[in-house]
């Protein structure tokens, strides 16, 4: 808040600054959540293990944070035999 803003009673922060602050935090969290080292390798290994037992159509891996807990979600779509 600059001297003049205070002087003229403009106490409220302008919304562009609010937007930037909110974006910085949101994007930092997004990036953290999407970052898993060697994800491709991990995916390939998971697939090779699963394929010993079942036929796989698709596999989706995502990282999520719930409260203070990190969760790795692995969704496997099994090939339909019909």
């Amino acid at each position: 808040m600059s001297f003049f803003d205070r002087f003229f009673g403009k106490e409220k922060k302008k919304s562009a600054g609010v937007a930037k602050d909110r974006l910085m935090i949101a994007i930092a969290a997004d990036r953290e959540n999407s970052r898993i080292p060697n994800l491709d390798q991990m995916r390939a290994e998971i697939i090779s293990v699963l394929e010993k037992y079942i036929s796989i159509d698709e596999i989706e891996i995502s990282k999520e944070r719930k409260g203070d807990m990190d969760m790795l979600e692995i969704e496997v779509v099994v090939k339909s035999t019909g």
Partner: protein, 271 residues
């Protein structure tokens, strides 16, 4: 050998198709043999924006299916002999795009054109991946508002993971085009400024396009704004096109920064 630009965004409705159309016309005006391809299968729009909707006989899905060859499907612009267009289909779904066939198509285009623009669908599904796979550069279109910027960060993060060029150890150029900037709101600090967007996304700025009511009129008539000499957005696209062709053009002053006046300058001293 042509250069491939994928025009992408995270969020829809930010002006990807408008950007693809105008930059394709702009580079063609600069004398580059240019083709623009609509990859938004099932939601074709680029034909309308270019005013070529009545000329579409074959589209990209016909090429994929082998029902037409490239020269049959390419539409030559009436106004500019350097400009060609390849339509998306309005009916078939995205699954017609097969990676090998898309690669073959893009290789063909690279042999025949200097500049190839791929108008990507919004988001990260289907057609988006196809435009990224073989792109030399991506142009990320963003509006100065939170959801568009956040979603842009997500797609920028995906580019290297999906790009063949990046996998081969080469660099994929990532350029930001900020569209629909409202100078008045920027002046009042009620719209995120260019420098702040660049801070957040850390990509190279390609250009800034101001909000311009003529864009609506341009889509109504099928005559893109770059062809309207008095349009501010059109002028911006013209300059960006020159930049893409290697000309050193200073950035558009769409934010009108120097007009702060004496009070603004005095205030600045007390910050």
């Amino acid at each position: 050998m042509g250069i491939v630009f994928a025009v992408i965004s995270g969020k829809g409705g930010v002006g990807k198709t408008t950007t693809s159309a105008n930059l394709a016309i702009g580079t063609a005006m600069e004398g580059k043999k240019t083709v623009v391809v609509d990859f938004d299968i099932g939601q074709r729009n680029l034909d309308m924006i270019l005013g070529l909707e009545n000329r579409v006989v074959y589209d990209i899905t016909h090429i994929m299916d082998g029902e037409a060859n490239l020269s049959q499907a390419l539409i030559k612009d009436k106004k500019n002999e350097n400009l060609y267009f390849l339509a998306a289909s309005q009916t078939k779904d995205k699954s017609v795009l097969e990676r090998d066939k898309v690669k073959h198509l893009i290789d063909d285009l690279k042999e025949n054109f200097d500049y190839i623009f791929l108008d990507s669908p919004a988001g990260i599904e289907g057609g988006f991946e196809h435009t990224i796979h073989y792109a030399d550069n991506v142009i990320v279109v963003v509006n100065p508002e939170v959801s568009s910027i956040r979603d842009a960060d997500r797609v920028i993060g995906l580019v290297d993971a999906k790009s063949h060029k990046a996998k081969a150890g080469e660099t994929v150029g990532k350029f930001l085009l900020i569209n629909r900037i409202d100078p008045e709101l920027i002046e009042k600090n009620e719209m995120i400024a260019t420098d702040d967007i660049l801070d957040i996304l850390s990509v190279t700025l390609l250009g800034k396009v101001p909000e311009d009511k003529r864009v609506i009129d341009a889509s109504n008539t099928g005559k893109p704004v770059i062809l309207h000499k008095e349009s501010e957005a059109g002028k911006a696209y013209r300059r960006i096109s020159k930049r893409l062709c290697g000309e050193d053009v200073p950035f558009e002053d769409v934010e009108n920064a120097p007009s702060k006046g004496i009070m603004g300058k005095i205030k600045g001293l007390f910050k």
